[in-house]
């Protein structure tokens, strides 16, 4: 390797890691509050997980085991790319198994398998501000958070009900953390919102382009915003996973042909594979003998 190509462990220099760790500690101390941090330019584009990558780089050590998922899957291209990045710059063991990982970096999903104490879930966040699409100005939204002025959000949800009969937000569904800050859970489907509540795992959120870090410490109250007469509900699927037969997991629709044929499979590939390995079968899964080959 030439001198130009050598980097510090986990890419970031130690000064930068310290700066990010300070932001993380502050974020943990004020659950749901967006802490500004001096986000660096990373060797992948803004919007492609630079916030999550910086958080992971700041907390990862040689003894960690890393799992990276995108859309719940370990083998989507950007997850592959980020996992390869950490293998290259930190040389840490990686895994696809949720239970084996100490750090899980994710985009758009929370694993189906319940997380345990000691695990850290790092979210990649595109727009950290839950009020951004109601008020584009940062100067205004910061004021609204400071004054706990969340009326606008409730009005938005109410207007959804008035117009559509129900709340028309399906992902990035706003939550209130520990009774104080309204927080954007990143664009996870609202299906995943209940998993954030009282999780034994530490949840860290990194937004690189927007230069914000926020956190949900373990065992923190996370409540999805709703109304008494329109309580929060998660998505349900009318059929089980076509590969592992799971009911109650989040499913992706896969188009099978150009005649309207489609199937539904678990978006969490590890969850689905573990179930198949344990002998569970869906209606479109390979017969037992073939799968064993």
């Amino acid at each position: 390797m030439t001198e130009l190509a050598t980097y510090n462990f986990a890419y970031l220099d130690e000064q930068t890691k310290r700066m990010i760790r300070r932001a993380i500690l502050k974020a943990i101390a004020i659950p749901g509050y967006q802490v500004p941090f001096a986000s660096r330019e990373m060797p992948m584009p803004y919007g492609w997980g630079t916030g999550g990558v910086q958080v992971t780089a700041a907390i990862i050590g040689p003894k960690d085991t890393l799992k990276v998922i995108d859309q719940g899957a370990d083998d989507t291209t950007n997850a592959v790319s980020i996992r390869a990045f950490f293998q290259k710059v930190a040389n840490v063991p990686v895994t696809t198994r949720t239970t084996e990982a100490t750090i899980i970096q994710t985009r758009h999903r929370i694993p189906e398998t319940a997380l345990a104490a000691g695990q850290t879930l790092v979210y990649q966040v595109p727009i950290p501000e839950p009020l951004r699409f109601l008020e584009p100005r940062e100067t205004e939204t910061r004021k609204m958070h400071a004054l706990e002025e969340y009326g606008l959000m409730h009005v938005k949800l109410y207007e959804d009900i008035a117009r559509h009969g129900h709340i028309a937000t399906t992902y990035a569904y706003p939550v209130k953390v520990e009774g104080r800050y309204v927080m954007d859970p990143s664009p996870t489907p609202k299906f995943d919102n209940p998993k954030m509540h009282n999780s034994p795992a530490l949840q860290l959120f990194g937004a690189g382009r927007e230069k914000r870090i926020y956190a949900i410490p373990p065992y923190t109250e996370v409540v999805s915003l709703d109304f008494e007469d329109h309580p929060f509900e998660i998505q349900t699927f009318s059929q089980p996973c076509a590969l592992c037969g799971a009911k109650g997991s989040y499913l992706d629709e896969v188009i099978l042909d150009d005649k309207g044929g489609s199937m539904f499979v678990c978006s969490d590939t590890d969850f689905c594979e573990e179930r198949q390995a344990a002998g569970h079968r869906g209606e479109l899964s390979a017969p037992q003998a073939e799968a064993a080959e």
């Binding site: 584009p45 919007g47 992902y171 299906f191």
Partner: protein, 365 residues
């Protein structure tokens, strides 16, 4: 039976191999050298240095080559490298009045100390494609001036002498200039950080905004007081030494715009300033920057904020092309999960809509 798609890793590897192949192109054509890019595509190199915020012609040329001539990709490569470099400290402000000038023009005075110096400019060339350039035709040696150049005071300093223009701002004692690469921006910004952001901002974006001010969206009646291009010395104060250390020279383009100002009850009418300073030779960028800087001073000068170019949060939040391109292009990434959630919702809403319509038509029967 259905087998889930696997193999992202192999696909990425193969895609990058193909990219390397396309980058090299036809192997019977000699590969382009970095020295050729530095010498013959110098303005591309300058733009990459300016918006990449790193003054290094060779690295910028490498980035242009690696990016296959995609400027924003090249700027991104330089930025991602720059961010890993250690900081030794901050240099002294460069003294553009001491610039070794190659070009200097003023649109406000016909003649002035030091004179007008056209230098290497596209201005007044007729934009006719030159077939001779298709071959390596010999190029004449340019005429050089014989006597040492006269000192060229800045036009703004001349105007400043009789108070016709507002004084150049001086940073208050003890104030450390901000650094947007080390601290997150918090709005509203001071002018130092705003100018930093503009200096690395996308040329096209700033050009469009600058143009909008000329067409009446926050018009400020600008005159190009002075544009100068040339080299300045970069000096660093070192703790152990009692004189500043000269690190080297960099080429800069500086633009000072003179703009009208009505004056107020407290202040007699005088001209105001818009400032642009860019690495390398880029008049378009430095002029655009100066127009945007002036427009963004609306709050400070008590002007009504009515147009996009005056809106600091809007301009600065969207002027960085590395950020913009990343977020626009991230739409290429998989969004299966959120799209599924939306599919589900739209299907449900369509079903509800249909059943309502059916009820209405039944009731009408």
């Amino acid at each position: 039976m259905y087998v889930a798609v696997k193999g992202g890793e192999a696909a990425i590897r193969n895609a990058h191999k193909l990219l390397a192949d396309r980058r090299r192109g036809d192997r019977s054509v000699p590969a382009i050298g970095l020295d050729q890019i530095v010498e013959q595509l110098a303005l591309a190199v300058d733009r990459v240095m300016a918006e990449g915020s790193l003054y290094d012609t060779e690295l910028a040329a490498l980035a242009v080559k690696q990016a296959r001539g995609d400027m924003i990709e090249a700027i991104f490569l330089v930025r991602a490298y720059r961010t890993t470099l250690p900081r030794f400290g901050y240099t002294k402000p460069v003294e553009t009045s001491q610039m070794a000038i190659e070009r200097r023009i003023s649109a406000t005075f016909k003649d002035l100390p030091g004179g007008q110096l056209l230098g290497p400019t596209f201005d007044y060339t007729h934009r006719l494609l030159d077939p001779e350039l298709a071959e390596d035709a010999p190029v004449d040696v340019p005429d050089q001036r014989v006597e040492a150049p006269e000192h060229m005071p800045r036009v703004m300093d001349i105007l400043d002498q009789d108070g016709m223009i507002e004084a150049d701002g001086i940073m208050p004692e003890g104030v450390q200039t901000g650094d947007l690469t080390r601290e997150p921006l918090t709005f509203p910004l001071e002018r130092d950080l705003r100018l930093q952001a503009l200096a690395r901002g996308d040329e096209g974006f700033l050009l469009g905004l600058a143009y909008s001010t000329q067409r009446g969206y926050a018009r400020s009646h600008p005159f190009a007081g002075e544009i100068r291009i040339g080299e300045v010395e970069v000096e660093l104060e070192v703790a152990e030494l009692d004189f500043p250390l000269t690190l080297g020279r960099i080429r800069l383009t500086e633009c000072q715009m003179v703009n009208q100002f009505k004056g107020s009850s407290k202040q007699s009418p005088q001209f105001t300033r818009g400032y642009g300073l860019v690495f390398g030779q880029s008049e378009r960028k430095s002029m655009s920057m100066a127009l945007c800087d002036r427009a963004l001073r609306a709050r400070e000068l008590g002007e009504d904020i009515t147009a996009a170019a005056q809106d600091e949060e809007f301009v600065i939040s969207h002027s960085d092309n590395v950020q913009s391109t990343g977020f626009v292009e991230h739409l290429k990434l998989p969004h299966y999960v959120d799209f599924q959630a939306e599919l589900d919702l739209v299907r449900r809403m369509r079903a509800e809509h249909e059943s309502q319509n059916n009820q209405i038509s039944e009731a009408a029967e």
